[in-house]
Symmetry: C2
Subunit: 321 residues, 2 copies
């Protein structure tokens, strides 16, 4: 009857967010701290423990807590390690799940943030009760978490589900982070949207656009979104183009795992129908007939501010007892 709560911890490049969550996905209490204040991970854990100990007392003590779930960049589910995360100060391999377990005396399990997002949708969100679905996180980068046969696909090494790095336009746009040409992330991320706008501004000198009132270096996904919301044709075309590429990519993903739904999450989804319409159109157009008009395209039902903690906490519910 006890252990009706779990801890969710989301370690981001800047902030670490943490909270205590019940079975229904209510965050009972939460907090945040800076991730990169401490060069030594032991000091990071000390600070995190201080914060969390207070929250755990608030909810009636540690005997109510089933375990700890962590979403972290380059988090490997199989061994609980963070491996060579470029945006964190702790270098090399950090056995974070083990360190947390030792520190808190609670079982701890870890995965990357997109996989955590998929579990969040499965346990609390738009994919409740589904056995086969894909979550695409469309933010600064493009991440993905894939559930098939009711289980997250981790692959043989724990790194499955890097759909943002699939090549969708062979020889296409350069992606500085990876050196690849034409990967999905080069188009369907915040940076991708910005680059698409910059390209259109250059190649269509005669098309009027309120984006031309900005310095080029001021143009970002937020500015483009606001322009599109005002009906700016060039900004709207950016979403049409982005949706076309994303939709075609989703069709390929459907041919892989034939999901019941694809759940879209993150900044790009704020554009609503402006992005959803072309995504749906170009996904359907590229599907074999047996897959057409079957796959639900959904926006995430989780509040963006809560999603990271919820996703991480979902991992703790999935833990084998």
């Amino acid at each position: 009857m006890s252990q009706q709560l779990v801890v969710g911890i989301d370690i981001g490049g800047t902030n670490t967010k943490f909270g205590i969550v019940d079975r229904r996905g209510t965050i009972l209490c939460d907090g945040r701290m800076l991730t990169n204040q401490h060069e030594d991970v032991a000091c990071f854990l000390d600070e995190l423990h201080q914060h969390l100990a207070i929250l755990i007392e608030q909810v009636g003590g540690i005997e109510n807590i089933k375990g700890i779930g962590v979403g972290a960049p380059n988090g490997n589910f199989y061994n609980g390690n963070i491996e060579y995360a470029p945006n964190l100060r702790w270098k090399g391999v950090v056995p974070l799940a083990q360190l947390l377990q030792d520190k808190f005396g609670l079982p701890a399990v870890l995965t990357n943030d997109a996989n955590a997002a998929a579990l969040g949708e499965l346990i609390y969100g738009a994919a409740r009760g589904m056995k086969d679905f894909i979550v695409m996180t469309l933010g600064t980068g493009v991440g993905s978490g894939i559930v098939a046969n009711g289980q997250l696909i981790y692959g043989h090494d724990g790194f499955a589900g890097e759909l943002g790095h699939c090549i969708v336009i062979p020889g296409g746009r350069f992606h500085p982070g990876t050196g690849a040409h034409g990967s999905l992330e080069a188009y369907a991320s915040a940076t991708g949207v910005t680059n698409s706008a910059l390209e259109l501004l250059k190649t269509r000198p005669d098309t009027q656009s309120i984006l031309r009132d900005h310095l080029l270096e001021e143009i970002n996904s937020k500015v483009i979104y606001e322009a599109a919301m005002k009906g700016d044709p060039l900004a709207m075309e950016v979403y049409e183009f982005t949706g076309q590429i994303l939709g075609a990519a989703l069709a390929n993903f459907v041919m892989f795992s034939s999901p019941e739904a694809i759940v879209l999450f993150g900044g790009l989804t704020k554009a609503g129908d402006l992005i959803m319409k072309p995504v749906r159109e170009h996904m359907e157009k590229n599907l074999l007939p047996i897959f057409q008009n079957k796959v639900k395209l959904l926006f995430s039902e989780l509040k963006e501010s809560d999603a990271a903690i919820l996703g991480a906490s979902a991992l703790a519910w999935e833990m084998k007892d």
Copy 2:
């Protein structure tokens, strides 16, 4: 102690092959019949039952048989139906697993041929003991079976794993069967190889090739294979080109499920290194560093003449008791 044998049935467009198989993948006895002799599926089942009853007696009677596995075009694992198979005479939805169960008094389970091939590799072949791998069947068409977390991925509707229909070159070569442009099957199938050769013969009028000794309508994958084996540069370039496209496609598939191995099966693999070398090179080139030099590229270990029966029989071992 009994039930150490299973029946495997492979229903092809022309022939239906069947056999009785032990746990190690030895085919104790087998046979074949024409698939499309009977317009009524009941008559097909009568003939199949006559053939199989003799084989079952040979191995000591029905009490030694655990069940029946069937590989069939458009076979749906979830409901045991063959659904709208274009190459079979039985139209619409045929509840084949149920019909077999009623006829033989044995549990029967069914899937499509590429999924059966994947189970064949899992139980008897190159993927024994693996939890995450992909089988690509490269024959008249391009099929695939995907295993993740030790289970075949069927998707929400039973149709997952149609990787041959992924678009790899947007706007690329037309695929008459589906109307798609640039799908993998348009390049990495027997027909694809033939079309690549015809294209090269046309665009490179100055390149000498023994393929030019043939009438264009005589050129097929067998002729091209023989020319390449003799060192014909144009025929060899066909394999280089095919391997480049297939390798890049496999890289995308790796980004999806991060398999321990990809097992290649079917006619195209006869070319050995001629196809394997460019596939490997272009797969690695298109992978993120975290996936590089990790994925085993293997040829199937199953004899092509046995593989269909073995794959189907593997399905019966996987059956829940």
